[in-house]
């Protein structure tokens, strides 16, 4: 449970910025159904910007809990797929 909460903490930063960008982009292009696709592409970019560039030292927090970068990137891709599917089903 603690590990899941920590993954949620990691994803929270990516989610809020990526979803805002995706919705804004969808509104700008006039097609809200594209939100999921935009999120799928924007969230990895946000992951890269937030954790690889801006707050790169925060990786050590997750390393100390036992996550490695592959798992953290995997969680970003997993959430992206889930959001994509969720929007597609709506």
């Amino acid at each position: 449970m603690q590990r899941l909460k920590n993954i949620a903490l990691f994803q929270k930063k990516i989610f809020f910025t990526a979803i805002i960008f995706s919705i804004v982009l969808a509104i700008a292009t006039g097609n809200l159904n594209m939100t999921g696709i935009y999120y799928f592409f924007i969230s990895p970019l946000m992951h890269y910007f937030i954790y690889e560039i801006r707050d790169s030292n925060e990786y050590y927090y997750y390393f100390n809990i036992g996550f490695d970068k592959i798992q953290l990137w995997g969680s970003t891709l997993l959430v992206a797929v889930l959001i994509f599917l969720l929007v597609a089903l709506l």
């Binding site: 920590n6 903490l9 030292n57 990786y59 927090y61 390393f63 490695d68």
Partner: protein, 219 residues
């Protein structure tokens, strides 16, 4: 008693040999002080042991488990980097529930110096307070071995004493490798001192040895 074994570490940067066949071992209840000049490779060595940094050759083992990456070091080795690593938006109370195991949480929260900070966000603390909280988190973590990279950097003397006192308190259950330029405090807390120079480790017995190897002047 658990043992951290580090052997045959070899690392080069831009064709310059930084670490050459490094060997060291650390047992639970032991504190190793790692000294060395700027750029001598101390942080690199700690990151290699932790499993984060790759090396041309390395062998790191805790008991029967070989550490190849950070996933392997889970519950075995934790690392304090030079810069703050805790997400700033968290309150200390939340941080404790996310980082510390359930069994140790109550004891940790009741520590007199932690209590006043519980409701505060990590990002609102001063540099010294942040460092102290991070060190305490690692001291109370599940890991058997803790690698502390410059724990005394930017810390007031009284906070240093507090950190050393807490380190002594949990010392029997963990092994530590500490590197810091505050060599006097490192020497005070460490059972063994090693000096990293020209890619190799040298055993230091006294301040005289540090002078002999040119780490400090004889003044």
């Amino acid at each position: 008693m658990k043992r951290l074994q580090v052997d045959s570490i070899r690392k080069s940067y831009h064709q310059k040999l930084l670490l050459s066949d490094i060997y060291l071992s650390c047992e639970q209840g032991e504190v190793i002080g790692l000294l060395g000049r700027n750029g001598s490779g101390k942080s690199t060595l700690l990151r290699i042991i932790f499993g984060e940094e790759k090396a041309e050759n390395k062998f790191v083992k805790v008991q029967d488990r070989i550490i190849k990456n950070v996933r392997d070091s889970r519950h075995l080795i934790n690392y304090l980097p030079q810069k703050n690593f805790v997400p700033g938006a968290l309150t200390i109370k939340t941080l404790i529930s996310l980082f510390i195991s359930e069994e140790k949480r109550k004891t940790f929260r009741e520590e007199t110096f932690i209590e006043p900070y519980l409701q505060q966000k990590f990002r609102h603390l001063s540099g010294g307070e942040k460092r102290m909280i991070e060190i305490m988190l690692l001291l109370y973590s599940e890991a058997d071995f803790i690698l502390l990279d410059e724990p005394f950097e930017g810390i007031s003397p009284i906070t240093k004493e507090l950190i050393i006192a807490n380190l002594e308190k949990v010392k029997p259950s963990k092994g530590y490798i500490i590197t810091d330029h505050d060599y006097e405090n490192v020497m005070k807390v460490a059972d063994r001192i090693l000096l990293l120079q020209n890619g190799t480790l040298k055993e230091i017995k006294s301040r005289k040895d540090l002078e002999r190897f040119g780490y400090v002047t004889g003044l």
